[in-house]
Amino acid sequence: MIDWLSFILIPLGYGFMIRGLIAALMVGVVCAVLGAYIVLRGMAFLGDALAHAILPGVAVGYLLAGNNPAWLTIGALVAGVVTALGIGRISRGGLKEDTAIGVMFTGMFALGIALISTARSYTVDLAHFLFGNVLGVSDRDLWLTGIFGGLVILTILAFYKEFLVISFDPVLAKTLRLPVTFLNNLLLLLIAVTIVLSLQTVGVALMAAMLVTPAATAYLLTRRLPVMMALAATIGAMSGIIGLYLSFYVNIASGPAIVLTCTFFFLLAFVFSPRQGLIIRNQKGQK
């Protein structure tokens, strides 16, 4: 017993670990709850693309104002809006949407890397943007993550039934005269904000995992949306904490450790889910 206790307590002796754990927990919850809509609406690729495409905005903010979260956020939002508009414009030009996403996000991502490469501390900065640096979280970062993460969750709760309708039945949303365009844009904005506040925890390259994997895991386990959101949030939070402990003891990078924990939970559900897991499906198939 004593061993387990010290196993848990030793990392908590370090201030950076405590701040990292709080950040990973908050980001895990916010990403997972928003991720429920991303999974249900089939927006996984768009989420991944947006995560990459904000890089030039973050880079400009970083080069101009250093590590100031406000400027990073504004830069990311501008880049996110430019990307979303670009995708819309290109797909109206007759190309399929996933093609438009592919063109836009790689172009923006390359621009971001090009901009960061002009800085002297190129490799370190780039690695932090790409893979996160959760152990470098400051107290101010924590407050900002808490406030903006809280706003994202509150908005999702406030527009719960409207987001449900536009996701399940867009025609019903239109016949009920809901503000469909506004709601779609609001959802994109929430994704962009969530990406920015997750940047330091998992980084651009692995962001999609936090948005998609916990929600996909929950989808395999339940058939009610509120339950799916709660389960996803739990899985996201647990992955953040377990991943950081893993990173501490096994000495691997924190971002990948968190994402690998998510993936592990997903595989568990994929094999053992009582509703639609591999085992159950095989048994049904044999009947």
């Binding site: 249900l40 019903l172 239109k174 009920l176 339940t222 799916m228």
Partner: protein, 289 residues
């Protein structure tokens, strides 16, 4: 269902006007006409079957009436106002257009019909849930209120969406091929529900490929193929002339000593074989679950 709709918007209903009026409505997709100069009127409480071959524009017509698709030309009026201001029109989608794996149960889906009445930021109150369960009771589905929607049979799924239209307090319900793929018993259950809707003075437009049911069970038939070819009782619409105009490529009229005989190829949606195929696919999906 009085003159004024609920707190949450929608416009006042001028009951002296027809519930639905179309004036020379035309729709083109990339220059290709889908609907051409459609004009007609519907009175409150009427039941109309919309028939015509695949690609005749039935779904397009419903989208225009629902206010989802603005027409290129012409006017749609609901009680004298444009439909984009109304929340009294419900669209019951084709079953193939619904994501049946979505994590919602039967009562959740029906409550969606009340989302606008609850208003932005509003949550369902006990009265709303009571209304939802009453509507489910009306279509005989309340005992399955907590069932996930993918676990229902085709007929049950259709009934849930009718309950949703009722929860919306719709006065005009558009149903896109509600009978496709259903067995005779499920079709009969749907018709007994439609009978209850008639008592509630709900106006109905139903797109169908089943010409016999259309002729037997509806007040008027609307024969559509880009243009409105006929609109009236079965005897007025089912004439050799109009039918061959509508179904020219899909059927052939043959004169026999016993009268006119029609040979048709019910391509997609309406035919018995198609229905059987759908049921087979349904069973397969259930296994996959």
């Amino acid at each position: 269902m009085d003159i004024v709709l609920g707190i949450s918007g929608g416009v006042e209903h001028d009951l002296s006007r027809p519930i639905l009026e179309l004036k020379e409505v035309s729709v083109r997709f990339n220059g290709v006409p889908a609907l051409d100069q459609i004009s007609f009127q519907l009175q409150k409480g009427e039941r109309v079957a919309v028939i015509g071959p695949n690609g005749a524009g039935k779904s397009t017509l419903f989208n225009v009436i629902a206010g989802v698709l603005p027409p290129n030309q012409g006017q749609v009026k609901v009680y004298g106002n444009i439909p984009g201001e109304h929340i009294c029109i419900a669209y019951v989608p084709q079953r193939s257009q619904v994501d049946w794996r979505f994590p919602v149960n039967v009562a959740d889906v029906v409550m969606m019909g009340r989302v606008r009445k609850l208003g932005l930021l509003g949550w369902p109150k006990p009265g709303d849930w009571k209304y939802v369960h009453e509507m489910l009771e009306l279509v005989g589905m309340n005992y399955l209120a907590r069932r996930q929607i993918g676990e229902l049979s085709g007929g049950q799924q259709q009934r849930v969406f009718i309950a949703r239209a009722l929860a919306q307090e719709a006065e005009l319900i558009l149903m896109d091929e509600p009978l496709t793929g259903l067995d005779a018993r499920s079709q009969e259950e749907i018709f007994s529900i439609l009978e209850k809707l008639r008592q509630r003075q709900v106006t109905l437009m139903i797109a169908t490929h089943d010409l016999n049911l259309a002729a037997e069970r509806f007040d008027r038939l609307m024969l559509l193929n880009e243009r409105l070819l006929g609109f009236g009782h079965a005897a007025e619409v089912f004439t050799p002339d109009l039918l061959s105009q509508a179904y020219s490529g899909h059927m052939r009229l043959i004169q026999t000593p016993n009268g006119t005989m029609m040979i048709s190829d019910t391509c997609c949606g309406g035919g018995e074989t198609e229905g059987r195929k759908e049921r087979r696919e349904e069973r397969k999906e259930k296994r996959d679950d």
